[in-house]
Symmetry: C2
Subunit: 393 residues, 2 copies
């Protein structure tokens, strides 16, 4: 028996060496992403994450966040508790490891990212008011389904309609097609991205013109999507074979060609036929984060006359010379917006790329999100900067 | 050290006695509630659930479903796998236990029930076509926010608008206020309840008149709801202190009085002012499951003139003598519908209660869901039977 359990005891012994991160400041509070009634996860003013879970018979329990694993410490009641090092402000995916089992934290809400539904946590930012739930008129975030000939299946789509859309039944609106990153799906922008609340707040402050936002899954693998309906809260499976690495700019190119078919043959026609949309290039924008921005660029390069406004968030640079028929883009093109988190390497390259657009008479804008990396807070801020520039009369 | 780890070894030893349930038929398939790309959980033709998780250092891993815990068996690679006994058709909440840690299955989608976000699994039913995603016109399931004076906060609300609502901008619709059970929230009917798909299919077959469905959280604790916005996919926290037991008919009475304020002072006025609703009792229905049905009954008893159609799913019986001012209800009242799962004790009592309504000239209908208990498949079927009876001209 000792033989059988020796490795197990080794692990148990190792559990003694607890990585206790910089959580000097003991002002931990439950996060906005902690389930109601749960006491953990918590975050302190330094951005350290504290988790706690009962696992009386476990030998080693870890918090796995930001690419690092932090050992938790077990108390006499069998409750394991511990903290991470301070994390960047904004949203991070994470998980717990219990004796080698990688599982969601039972205390958190669950989000789709890194190609799985699992735990996420919000580290409060000083500028969180722009996506806060306020007592202002709110639009609706809708889930609907449409038939995609290209996919030969019904596909779910999320649609944000702005405040006023419901009442002003004669009014038509411009549309932004807004894409997620690799390993994410159509629920990301409305969920951890808070796109609806960002727009509600911008519109309430008179900083943005109301427009519709369409969010679909651009990780399209036409061979692989034969799954039943996902639950209505938006837990839509990603395309089969979507790479587990959620953050490989360029990897999105595998999907761009197939998503192009869905977008132009199925999605845009459905939206323009079924919602009160101004169906013209001058009233059509496309943007995305990471892979979604790479796809946006390649779709605009292949269809330069179809979009007036282009946004790439943490997706590299885009310059006029990349469009073979630049005059086709100049016909309707009004804006090319590029952003990065300040901690991303690409941040230094976007001002020059923006200037290249200004030189040919199309507005080029670059934005760098202070103190953030390749994560959702950079993209929320990017949408907040991008949206006011759209559909100016 | 042996002292310290003795209990742990005991547990490990016990893990030898694996409850291997009736999974004779090895035709396990991934469930519709299994995350895309994940191989587990699976279900076989007998309704047995098979889960599998890597936990190399674990001593005991169990599947916790239907009130029973089933030990899993560990292979040489450290993968634990095992099955439950056959489960009723339909939807069940479940969890995994890893060395005493109760956690969601990383392979499943997550649902709100039993007062937590966690795993759920669908056991295929012979009659699953009525809530399947089909190539028919689809309505929109929307999430919006409104200010509740009674709660002094913004509250999320889910609203189903039927196919045609978007195009026929002059048309107004009747409304069903549809409530969840205890320990559940406003995401239940649109999620595991598939209310939107049930209506889309009924309307496509011409079996139901199109109407709007409003789904709010009736576990109202006006003292306790001060949480930030939940993610858009509908992960809205329940009221603080909502009992962990999701299934105590009658317990809902604690909440009915406070929900009544939100419903009549805030929610109904918001819906009738902001959506294309026919704002009259003859065009207003209320129904709910379990606690939600108990609340429906008490709200109708207190406001007999405000609803024409009443539905109680697995919520006991309702008879005319319970309404003090029966003439007020007779003014607008058209239908009282009561249902139970065939495995529930209450099933035997509803035909007589329905007959009592028929006797006083209000249509009384009872429905028993074959072979199901106090679970979502009973309530999906109940909505499918109830909806065609509503708002008949």
């Amino acid at each position: 028996m000792s033989n059988k359990y020796f490795p197990l005891l080794m692990v148990a012994a190792l559990a003694g060496s607890v990585v206790n991160a910089q959580s000097d400041i003991d002002d931990f509070k439950v996060s906005s992403t902690t389930q109601q009634g749960k006491q953990f996860p918590k975050v302190n003013s330094q951005g350290a994450v504290r988790v706690s879970i009962a696992a009386p018979q476990a030998n080693l329990v870890q918090l796995d966040i930001g690419g690092k694993k932090y050992d938790l410490k077990k108390d006499t009641a069998g409750i394991w508790t511990g903290e991470s090092a301070p994390q960047d402000v904004g949203f991070h995916y994470y998980q717990l490891n219990v004796d080698g089992a990688s599982v969601p934290d039972p205390g958190s809400f669950y989000y789709y990212g890194a190609s799985r539904w699992g735990s996420g946590i919000e580290i409060p930012a000083a500028d969180s008011a722009f996506f806060a739930l306020k007592n202002v008129p709110h639009g609706d975030l809708r889930k609907s389904y449409y038939f995609s000939k290209s996919s030969n299946r019904m596909r779910p789509v999320y649609i944000y309609t702005p405040p006023g859309y419901e009442k002003e039944t004669a009014k038509k609106y411009p549309v932004l097609y807004l894409q997620h990153g690799m390993g994410e799906n159509e629920t990301g922008w409305g969920g951890q991205g808070y796109a609806g609340l960002i727009m509600d707040n911008l519109i309430a402050e008179g900083k943005a013109n109301p427009f519709i936002i369409v969010m679909e899954n651009s990780s399209v693998n036409l061979g692989g999507m034969r799954r039943p309906a996902a639950p209505a809260q938006g837990q839509t499976p990603p395309a089969q074979g979507a790479p587990a690495n959620a953050r490989t700019p360029g990897g999105g190119m595998n999907f761009a060609a197939e998503f192009e078919k869905v977008l132009f043959n199925d999605l845009i026609p459905y939206i323009e036929a079924n919602y009160r949309v101004i169906a013209s290039p001058e009233n059509r924008a496309m943007a995305g984060l990471s892979m979604g921005g790479m796809q946006t660029r390649s779709l605009v390069m292949a269809n330069p006359e179809k979009f007036a406004y282009v946004g790439m968030f943490s997706s590299g640079t885009f310059v006029p010379s990349e469009i073979s028929d630049i005059n086709a883009f100049k016909k309707n093109g009004k804006l090319v917006f590029m952003s990065f988190g300040g901690k991303e390497a690409g941040a230094a390259r976007i001002p020059a790329a923006a200037e290249a657009w200004n030189k040919i008479g199309i507005k080029g804008v670059s934005y760098v999100s202070p103190e953030t990396g390749h994560e959702w807070h950079s993209w929320r801020r990017s949408l907040y900067e991008f949206a006011p520039l759209l559909f100016k009369k």
